[in-house]
Symmetry: C3
Subunit: 362 residues, 3 copies
């Protein structure tokens, strides 16, 4: 049995297979309409997220399965102090696979360590949201016909935008990917992404502040929202905000074959007038999200059927129990009895929390 906690858990080969399955589902939906008959997905959403929850729900239903769950912590036993792990262990008795969304980093992993059924991470705090990245990848694959040889612009809040970090990681495994990182200085891509992913994989990149000046070079433009709260200086926000809004006007300079992606929901960072442009791929992206989740559910249920035993999520032999995670958003900070666990990273003397992956030197 395997779970999906992070996009890194999937090999390039596995990503290809998932995309291929998704394309086959799109072509031959009838073939799949009873694949999950009699099976149940538990959608455990400890914080609201319409899009992701409805996408998983629709995915399971189109496979002929049923869905149970909740869509907010107040409707759940966690209000009574139950741990995420306990909730998932109980739900293991009611369903065949779990999609979990939780505000704490590492919540999905803490569930996967005790669950008797596969766990899909549907977003754990600031940590990871692998099925969004899967939707991004399938969209690139279907819109461009390839994963290699692409110039990808990432625009907006690159500092806090979890989705652009994951996408950067995922694309780092393909060939000839050029990155154009477009953001205000306050919100530039964090150093650990630049050093540990971009530079390490020798990806050509440039950091720029103008969307307008750089849009002409792009094959993919991945838009994200800039939140006012991210700025220390509100005047700075007012001065900058419009330069990161995609308008029909700015789009005039772009390639004919550009594709615009956005994880949605959008607020105003893409003008609604852009929606009718064939290059706007963000609504198709949500459709792709449904299909790739169908492929993922099928894959994980298939693995669980062949081998019901939990595959290890990290190397048990290398775990250190003497270090404490200091990340206040980490699930390990919540329960009294929660064991802190650290494993070595590739850097000498560095360890990371198995839940939230925050690293410390020792």
């Amino acid at each position: 049995m395997r779970s999906l906690i992070d996009i890194k858990d999937l090999s390039v080969k596995e990503l290809d297979e998932l995309c291929k399955t998704a394309c086959d589902i799109i072509k031959h939906p009838k073939k799949y309409e009873n694949k999950c008959k009699g099976k149940k997905l538990a959608a455990l959403f400890f914080e609201p997220s319409t899009r992701t929850r409805l996408s998983f729900t629709a995915a399971m239903m189109e496979l002929g399965g049923n869905v149970i769950g909740f869509s907010g912590a107040s409707s759940s036993s966690s209000a009574k102090g139950e741990s995420v792990a306990d909730t998932c262990k109980v739900v293991s008795n009611f369903a065949d696979i779990i999609a979990i969304r939780h505000p704490k980093d590492g919540a999905a992993l803490s569930a996967a360590l005790v669950s008797n059924i596969p766990i899909i991470n549907a977003g754990d705090g600031m940590h990871a949201h692998p099925t969004q990245t899967l939707a991004d990848l399938l969209t690139i694959y279907r819109e461009m016909g390839r994963f290699n040889n692409l110039t990808i612009g990432m625009c907006g809040d690159l500092k806090y935008g979890r989705t652009v970090h994951s996408l950067t990681h995922a694309m780092s495994r393909y060939k000839n990917i050029k990155l154009v990182l477009i953001s205000p200085k306050e919100l530039r891509m964090p150093n650990y992404v630049i050093n540990d992913i971009i530079k390490k994989n020798h990806m050509p990149y440039k950091e720029v502040t103008s969307l307008e000046d750089n849009i002409k070079d792009l094959d993919i433009l991945y838009m994200t929202r800039i939140q006012r709260e991210r700025f220390f200086d509100p005047k700075q926000y007012e001065r900058l905000k419009n330069s990161y809004v995609l308008t029909v006007d700015k789009l005039k300079k772009a390639k004919k074959n550009l594709r615009i992606l956005h994880p949605l929901p959008r607020v105003n960072e893409i003008s609604v007038k852009v929606d009718d442009d064939p290059r706007a791929a963000y609504f198709r992206q949500t459709l792709n999200g449904k299909y790739i989740r169908m492929a993922l559910i099928l894959k994980l249920l298939d693995i669980a059927k062949k081998n019901p035993k939990r595959e290890p999520l990290f190397d048990q032999k290398k775990v250190r129990y003497d270090l404490k995670c200091t990340n206040v958003r980490c699930i390990s900070s919540v329960n009294v009895e929660h064991e802190h666990k650290f494993v070595p990273t590739s850097k000498k003397g560095e360890y990371k929390c198995v839940y939230c992956e925050q690293a410390i030197k020792k």
Copy 2:
């Protein structure tokens, strides 16, 4: 493809057809139990409404279909600032038909303008709630066996009661309908309903304040709730409230064949002791609500199948973009980028907002 935003969108012939389909479903439920197999209804309830949501849900399930959705704004992406139109456009990718409930007038229309699947308005603010009116009509049809030649009493809050306005409009298209409008002066039927619907269609009517004195004449008694908040003077409320409560005693003066309707939920405006009287039709009315929704879902899915293109919801050529809607409850007041759109009414120099239908002179 067609949506249902307002009861006026349906012709008398279409209303008859819907009632006939509903009656056929009641007689031959087996015939319909797989009609929507593999289809999904999205019940997008931006504000709570158990009755309406469960009615739509049960309707879709009895057609063999599935239901996805949410039951409150806090569980939805709108909390993150997403527009109703965007939410519905995304959900178009997950479902085959949408039932939407929203606190803003015109929300359903704003969704229908961009959605790729049919939209059913399940209540948009103070504007319209056409499936309630459909339930009312089917109840009249099944209980009385006819739509013509009826004396209909409407009792309670006729000023703010959206359902009585819609029902008045719907009945104005039948023959020999007499109206008895029973309410305190503070809550009498608005002038625009009296002038634009009742008088315009030459419907005989009278406005009275006593339920007790007028109940004997009625074929239909449509009860609504009087809310304390509607009164400027609390003493006035205390003095009046009991006269608009239907009791076993008041019912003694009524016809044997009277039928009592109520959109529910009731608080205390009909004594629970009335429930066992065969003339009490309000619980059967909720059952009819389910059946007419089944008929409606079938009809709209059928139209969408035959013609996937959106039929225009108003005359695009006559739209003026230079007027601004001043209704604070209108959906056009919410989003920055929302285009204000006005179309001419039948009155010279008058235009109405396409969303909330509030008219202005120009």
Copy 3:
């Protein structure tokens, strides 16, 4: 037609049958997967309870049925002042059976008096939660192979713990059941349970304060949570709390064949390190909860099919309408029009409210 309001409503023979059906479902799930095809369960949860709601939902789905409902009062019409009885009467038109959870004592009974479909009490305030007791019983049956000849320890908050009261009642009907009541003095088993159930049925029992000293005698250990709020003196709580936490250490003194039960959710009263011990039966208990609910749904739908008329829930002829229930948590305190109804108990001159069962002398 019959409803299940209290575990006392079921005879020992009926309990045995339910357990047998549950075991047959476990053995032959395929045989049952379409038993409720085309049927709907309404899960009406006026207060949140993940475990119970998901258990009912999974149960109905594994019988091939559908589920509608809500999971909090704010999503329901009760926010608009509708009575529980009205809500259930309306929902009778949308579903085939109702599982209701409500914060008021007697809410389930008030629904069962007017509903046209069977009602299952899924917890009504402090009053009753019979399907939890059914899950407890099936767990004892499957883990121990018998209901007779057992020494049962009940540990923790025996004063407010609704589940231990119901289990005591249920076990009082079997042979040679010894009870060990383990609690701090502040939270000992109430006198009415000791007098009216334990002593009346001549069950051997002892009241003790130490879990550690008494664990060795037990066949069943039923753990419950001690809430800080229950103590007048916080120091007392601090002093006591650890002695009622089940640890690996305390477990060393227990029988090899002990079984540990807990209604869940747990907070910290059982160490997570105990989870891997084969004697820990509390997660299996939630699985049993699903199976016994499947059996119960089948039984009640079957009775309703054979006889659609409501069976009386108490002796109508003996009802007194002149007494008023003073229990502020009772459903009879909520609605203005609610009739107070009392029936005689077995004690002379004593009457109990039919809703909350609180007794008064007259």
